[in-house]
Symmetry: D2
Subunit: 383 residues, 4 copies
Amino acid sequence: MTEPRIRLGMVGGGQGAFIGGVHRIAARIDDRYELVAGALSSKPEVAKASAEELHIASDRSYGSYEDMFAAEAGREDGIEAVAIVTPNHMHFPVAKAALEAGINVICDKPVTRTLEEALELQQIASSSSAFFALTHNYSGYPLVRYGRELIERGDLGKIRLIQVEYPQEWLTQAPDADNKQAAWRTDPKRSGKAGCLGDIGTHAFQLATFMTQLELESVSADLTAFVEGRQVDDNVHAMLRFSKGAKGMLWTSQIAPGCENGLRIRIFGDKAGLEWAQEKPNEMWLTPLAGHHQRITRRDDNLDSEVATRGIRIPFGHPEGYLEAFATLYTDIADVLAARRKGEKHPMEAWIPGIDTGVTGMRFSNAVLESSESDSRWTALID
Amino acid sequence: MTEPRIRLGMVGGGQGAFIGGVHRIAARIDDRYELVAGALSSKPEVAKASAEELHIASDRSYGSYEDMFAAEAGREDGIEAVAIVTPNHMHFPVAKAALEAGINVICDKPVTRTLEEALELQQIASSSSAFFALTHNYSGYPLVRYGRELIERGDLGKIRLIQVEYPQEWLTQAPDADNKQAAWRTDPKRSGKAGCLGDIGTHAFQLATFMTQLELESVSADLTAFVEGRQVDDNVHAMLRFSKGAKGMLWTSQIAPGCENGLRIRIFGDKAGLEWAQEKPNEMWLTPLAGHHQRITRRDDNLDSEVATRGIRIPFGHPEGYLEAFATLYTDIADVLAARRKGEKHPMEAWIPGIDTGVTGMRFSNAVLESSESDSRWTALID
Amino acid sequence: MTEPRIRLGMVGGGQGAFIGGVHRIAARIDDRYELVAGALSSKPEVAKASAEELHIASDRSYGSYEDMFAAEAGREDGIEAVAIVTPNHMHFPVAKAALEAGINVICDKPVTRTLEEALELQQIASSSSAFFALTHNYSGYPLVRYGRELIERGDLGKIRLIQVEYPQEWLTQAPDADNKQAAWRTDPKRSGKAGCLGDIGTHAFQLATFMTQLELESVSADLTAFVEGRQVDDNVHAMLRFSKGAKGMLWTSQIAPGCENGLRIRIFGDKAGLEWAQEKPNEMWLTPLAGHHQRITRRDDNLDSEVATRGIRIPFGHPEGYLEAFATLYTDIADVLAARRKGEKHPMEAWIPGIDTGVTGMRFSNAVLESSESDSRWTALID
Amino acid sequence: MTEPRIRLGMVGGGQGAFIGGVHRIAARIDDRYELVAGALSSKPEVAKASAEELHIASDRSYGSYEDMFAAEAGREDGIEAVAIVTPNHMHFPVAKAALEAGINVICDKPVTRTLEEALELQQIASSSSAFFALTHNYSGYPLVRYGRELIERGDLGKIRLIQVEYPQEWLTQAPDADNKQAAWRTDPKRSGKAGCLGDIGTHAFQLATFMTQLELESVSADLTAFVEGRQVDDNVHAMLRFSKGAKGMLWTSQIAPGCENGLRIRIFGDKAGLEWAQEKPNEMWLTPLAGHHQRITRRDDNLDSEVATRGIRIPFGHPEGYLEAFATLYTDIADVLAARRKGEKHPMEAWIPGIDTGVTGMRFSNAVLESSESDSRWTALID
């Protein structure tokens, strides 16, 4: 029997929003979801028009997430999962309500605005039957997963260095007033105290710890808001100390002309080094120390890794990109939810960033902010 | 009112096939289609299982395309378009039947096995109310379209040279017997007389003429089957003479180790040159003669081209790839079909490869074959 | 005892010339030569000023090459070798005179203006005690040599394809009247009938045959002079058939905006492919068919090749370039000449392009010209 | 009248040494020097053999630098300049003696082992008639100079960020006992307290301040010796605060597998960003914020910069590398010394790193060491 599609609702993502559309494409690519309900906007007009555009039945387009969760709970064909794609400050209440209603959650990052909220959500999640996934989408790239496996297998030897960076250019100058994306991201009330740090720095941090499976122990950071009048950081410099003696640096910026979406990681062990960059996601450099031959490993359906290849749809040389990596994460989540329908646990649960990743991310953010406020004092990641 | 999705049927593309799945993803990405019927395989078991997997209702899974066209014609919610994703030799009969039934056609390339068939189909298409689209998917890439516009605007000056190549490695050795993709592609009965030439050479040719809007007038070619026992060419060398005095070269190969899906084009005018490669589709090199500054133009939602930007879903630095370019073509077709529902003509019709492109492609193939058999004599592209 | 420097004279290369200065740097880099005499210009004033600038004693600055050879023959410390860096049409008479005088020759390419001259020079060389070297400098690059060794060892398997190209942009438009380099290169009287073909096409051809050690058997070519009024070709398209069943293409152009000095070669065997580009000379791509891992091989003093590493002066990561490759050729010649002082034969003689390379190059040029004039008929390389 | 060559002596650089040979090639490339004397080794046998190999007259091969300076002072044709290419700990006494003898100094970096020595040398230099040049060779690259000019002209706007890195791999493991280069570089007695920091970190620092002409005000650093038993740092992480509000990061390492000689700098202003990497020295990325077109600027003899183009010998597309950049520095010094012969001051004096650069470098080293020892406390660069 074919597995029925996951019945999905969405909060946020109405007309004019950005990331909601990305989630919807991600959900569609492998055809594992059906978007059947939505509370797409706090503005009724926008919500209605958006739902119609998305072929959502008018009686399942809701004015609020509370309404949606209540109404859908009463339907036999009610939603099984909700995608939360609102600005950051709404992640917490929506996720909380969903988990309490037993609805699986697919939440955009960062998990919440504050560590306190994240910890509370962790509590709620631990006592909920629902699954909580945090869309750190870059971990969906096949070669990111392959890199993690190579490191776990020991191909790099003992990890010593992790150099991660994520520069962008789009906030180099004060944005126009009508730039909706820029507006909420630079407003501490909606995005939290961490600006660039929360928006993209957490992706860089998550990538580093996802691939190496090391824990960040402490950080020495220097945050800056270069653009006049900006209330949150637009550049983050940080030195990192990981578990097992590894060290690293993290740089993230939104004021770096020439940089588009420059997430890049280099990891060095005592046997080999690797490098992967999000803008060229179909290749990974891997250089064993011996032999002086740098090797490019391509995204390839023959890679000796099931986890990497399950996210590959087309043969090598046919580039897959950001949307496919995002889709892979959605498909993994679908597999998990489908297994849970039968009371089973799918092995991909271990690969999907969840509430713990969210909490760690908030701890990272807090430690960076605290260190920067303390003249870059080394600051541990604790509660 | 929201435009209803296009009701789509599919011929071919059952379990074990490759390109059918690509078409389905392409159709889903922008959510403009609903796959409601299929004649997915000539084997009833495979057809049934494939339909179920694709959530096609069992009564709309057909044993043959003839059955499907007949039955769907009788339904009010019958298919409006059919995607033909069979091996090459079936393109002609299926497309013919669809056009005659007034069903819009989305046909994988090459259009047919022979020029004769293509010409007949051209006749049929000209007297059919249905729209015929040929999925030369590489023309869906935003920067390919942007390049075409730059050339049309005159930014390159008078075009002199077109160097196009498309090397792959996957047939370097005789493939295993169970490699289904390789089997039909190297069998003249199913793929036509042209091997590598028909499979990927036609893509290279189409890209060159699509971007420059020049006509190929004659060709001097040298075909080879390097692998012992291979019945069709696996390497094509050709020199090209275009209209308006432009010249070029075309190389395509399936025996080039290190090459994955290396479609690449370089176009030189008397004012500037450009270069685009399918494996790095989000960038295009454009070098004006003056100034000695090479420029990379990125896929970017701010490009000064409506046609290019309509195929861009996410901001620069977030790579889109092969599936998105394919999806863009599907979405363009959806726009055309939606306009036709209302008796209107959508401007994107001019950008979608159709039956004329198919005929020209077959003329190209024939001329190349004829030239190669005549010791590379310059051979004109005529009927 | 330290080997004394080779006493070198130069013909051509006075003020305003280009390639003479390159030869002099090449001779100096490894300090194996001493430039002691010159007939640097046909204009006495220029000859005198140039000699002074180069610290050549005034009594060894000559008004003509004939004077130089005569006078130097009478000196105990007379020149042992002469570098010929004149425009093409003077190569023959100067080389002839030098060989007849027993003076070793280091001649810029192409060897002569015509095949007849080249054959005559071959005769003269064969009966002369002097050594004749032709500065096909690109064969001095360590990785070009390494590639040749890999092919000889069989790492690529049986060679099937050789794709070589050499595009430039500098003659895209008719040059200014005062561009001395452009003037003689586009004047058939001084450069020979072959324009771009002779200037850089011969380098491409030499590289292909040097690396693979295959012979070019026949060629089908299409030459064009795109710039109005130009008397020699500025673009060459050619298809190639080599010994042992290999095939290839050659493209060379001087009207390709965006291309600087784009000599690039790709060689494919049935086991692996390689790629090397002159503009990134410190790396070579080598991709074995198995494993789907492309490898970059760096210029590296640990390469398993004596011939490759003898041309490496500094550790990997410290780029060497065009001048160093040229110097390596000069140093090889110095080793040969030093061995000959003692009546010995140095093993590097086999690696230095000589009169036979020159003759083959002229045969190539002639065949290309003849083929192009015969509507691209396949034309064999014969006398 | 032609300018006579500069008469050069050398201290260090005997057989088995590395950087001495580089200096000699650099001095020869543009033919502005004559190596006439040497104290090439502290071992008499090696000194003698080395001198002979270099064609230095036996009576000008000295057993010590003191002897050389004394004897050469007494000759009319005595050396005008001395190249100091010893291990670091000998830089100070040799430079001191030379300056006191009025001999111009070309000293390899770092200037001395300690800041105290550097300050003393600064005193001596200020009261000496001789010129002191420090071979921060990377500042000889044409595009590094061009970048400095662009920044000075304001093309990047106000500088905000400087991200500089210099990773290598060659000390990833404990080196063999017979690796002479590794031995002295990891021995605090000969190289100073700073390991990787002094060897290559100072190059990175110098590049950053050379290009931007900003002063480093303070540093927060974390040094590590990853290889067991290593007595000096092999990895440096540092955050930087420059004058005028600019910030940056510096990473340098000798334990990064896959990195060869990875000096790379990225500089971001509020109008544009640039990037230059030593391993691809013939290109520089320059991206103005407006327009989303990244541009590559090539090393090109038409650059609108006299200082950049004076270091270019061959046309674009013909790569120049490390040795040419080093040679450019030598040639600049020759111009300065030739001008001084006539009592003139050459404008290139301003571009040649000298004793002040050396002192600043030592201050940088000291501040980094001090910060690292103080748990990465921000540490100012003071005496």
